[in-house]
Assembly symmetry: C2
Homo-oligomer: 378 residues x 2
């Protein structure tokens, strides 16, 4: 692909492994929800703050599709995490109060078992032989991880984007195992628009001949497909409003390439795509992306309301953003109303952030108080 | 690309040439706005209704990016056109009153000179040697076409989507040549979100090795790139609201293909993409798509207001749709307000259509009266 473009691939962009990362093996068989099983699943996690004696101050944090468990810096690893401004001592997720555990999702490629892991039966990476992954599997693996740490019950389970779906799966599958749910820019299911965007992203990856049906050599694979998929991702993660203010019709310095970038927004997409390629396993991306499409709260009871009625939560916070086109506000309102109907004391916060779905990563001015005030009042 | 997917390419999807199509050659040099020139430009058009003796009942219709000049059926060609329900005797664009001329844009591939045309200097298709195309060139060519038909002045110039930009270019470049402007789901310029979507579509086409830098054999070319670009197009042409109601989480009949379509919305995108591939020249697509990004009313006077102040229009109609993410309503409101400030008697109609940018092609219930009542009152 792209024989006419010069691609600066750089060295491996894979993030270095955080010294704060812990690995846990869950011995034995792990049965996957839609069939198939894994053996001796490994999960990576990081933690912040101290577990109190009663073991009742745990906040379990699930991530979006692409981040690792390195949500914030710590004494062991001063490198900033993906939610550095949100998580730490005296921050919105206050690690003086909470023992925060952030899990790298099952199926991801930052320490947890996923398609890039070696299948002990063959001595080779699972690749496309990895069983179909659902967010219920992600939640079940996280639950087993906590059990292995001696934690049966958490104070709060939280997640943004895909992580919010994983958090929902967690409380749906283990009623009574959490008191509080915090759902950020997430939803009870994926609507067709989001499915279409993610489906096309997956097709861009699969269409790259270097994907080889999922059988690419470790560390290699569909770089161009990932580049294009990331560009489409960025188009869905941000908002037209933000870009209109940020880029307008500003021109990029154009090269000689025919039909190459002419506007600043095109150069921006290019740089964001370049930074992503090589940092995430393409098969992991396919599996986690599809898991988001497959997730549906209604699967846990026949309807969303029936499913939510089984929850034994005390409180919930649902935070949404007006400019989010991937997890639109009306879906988040529906989740909040459903939780409320199910008897959960629910706060619904609509934020005017203009950065679209990604706002939780960048619009700290709005997100810090929204999350901080809710957690402080627990 | 896509070695693992079975693609049903079918026979050539190129629409058969309408017997109602007329071809006109503009003899001599045609200088392009951003440099380069064409020789003996050919333009295709169709017309409906009779030109009156005073030659003052002409309605010039520009098209969106991909349609031909066959906007409606006629005695010569009973095949339905792309705006069949809008245009004809006693319809909203009433051909009992107007002599309607629909032009195939310069740069397109349905009879007008474009990248797939033979360059007389080389005896081969222009391909990527076709000069940079702007919508001002499209408008200038249409103006010369009308002159060749003995028409110096039109009653109305109209266009949806890209056609609205071409119509704006027409009235900006030839003040006094038209009395009325009808802009449908269009804008004074492209915002970064739309540029990003179109830029990625173009990259999908260019990334297909079969594009060969634009030097593919006639009739061949980047079929897979066009397929993927069309899918992205459909995601931007429709709306999340329409799809949520239309598809919900309905499942498609799934095949054995790993990561193949699982939801109905994915099967829909697949069928729409298949229907498009082979029906449009990929280089034409690249040139016209970029022309939309490059268009900016402000180029005609230093600012949008200065440009519009030069217009000598009597009336204008601006129609926009709430669910349009490609040409969002606020841009259409800005156009209407600008025209109004420039002294043009302007009607701005906001339609609640749920089919997004494509609504003008499908939501006839709202569009027919919006356009019909305005034209009837002229």
């Amino acid at each position: 692909m792209k024989p006419h473009l010069t691609v600066h691939s750089g060295a491996s962009a894979t993030p270095s492994v955080s010294p704060a990362r812990r690995l846990v093996t869950l011995p034995g068989k792990f049965a996957m929800r839609l069939g198939g099983e894994l053996q001796d699943v490994q999960l990576a996690y990081e933690s912040w703050g101290s577990l109190n004696q009663a073991k009742d101050n745990v906040l379990l944090l699930f991530t979006g599709l692409s981040p690792s468990a390195h949500a914030a810096s710590s004494g062991e690893d001063p490198a900033p995490g993906w939610w550095e401004e949100m998580l730490g001592p005296d921050k919105s997720i206050d690690t003086n109060l909470f023992h925060v555990i952030c899990v790298n999702s099952l199926g991801s490629c930052f320490g947890s078992t996923g398609p890039a892991s070696i299948d002990a039966r063959t001595g080779k990476p699972y690749g496309p032989a990895f069983p179909t992954l659902t967010l219920e599997d992600v939640a079940a693996a996280a639950c087993k991880l906590l059990q292995s740490l001696g934690i049966e019950r958490v104070r709060a389970v939280m997640g943004p984007s895909m992580g919010g779906m994983s958090a929902l799966a967690y409380v749906l599958m283990h009623p009574g195992s959490a008191e509080v749910l915090v759902s950020i820019s997430s939803a009870t299911h994926s609507e067709p628009f989001s499915i279409a965007v993610r489906s096309l992203q997956r097709e861009l990856i699969r269409s790259d001949g270097a994907w080889q049906g999922g059988h690419y050599p470790p560390g290699d694979g569909p770089r161009e497909g990932m580049r294009l998929a990331r560009k489409l991702g960025m188009i869905s993660y941000r908002s037209a409003k933000e870009w209109a203010e940020r880029f307008g019709r500003e021109r990029a310095s154009t090269g000689a390439e025919p039909f190459g970038p002419e506007f600043e927004v095109e150069a921006y997409l290019e740089s964001r795509a370049e930074a992503f390629v090589g940092s995430f396993d393409p098969n992991s991306y396919l599996y986690l992306s599809r898991a988001m499409d497959l997730f549906d709260v209604a699967d846990h009871g026949g309807s969303v309301d029936k499913a939510l009625s089984r929850l034994k939560l005390k409180k919930a916070l649902v935070v949404g953003v007006e400019t989010d086109i991937l997890f639109p506000l009306h879906q988040q309102q529906a989740l909040a109303e459903g939780l409320s109907r199910a008897g959960v004391e629910t706060s619904f916060v609509q934020l005017p952030s203009k950065q679209g779905h990604d706002s939780f990563l960048v619009d700290m001015e709005h997100f810090r108080p929204a999350i901080g005030e809710f957690l402080a009042a627990l």
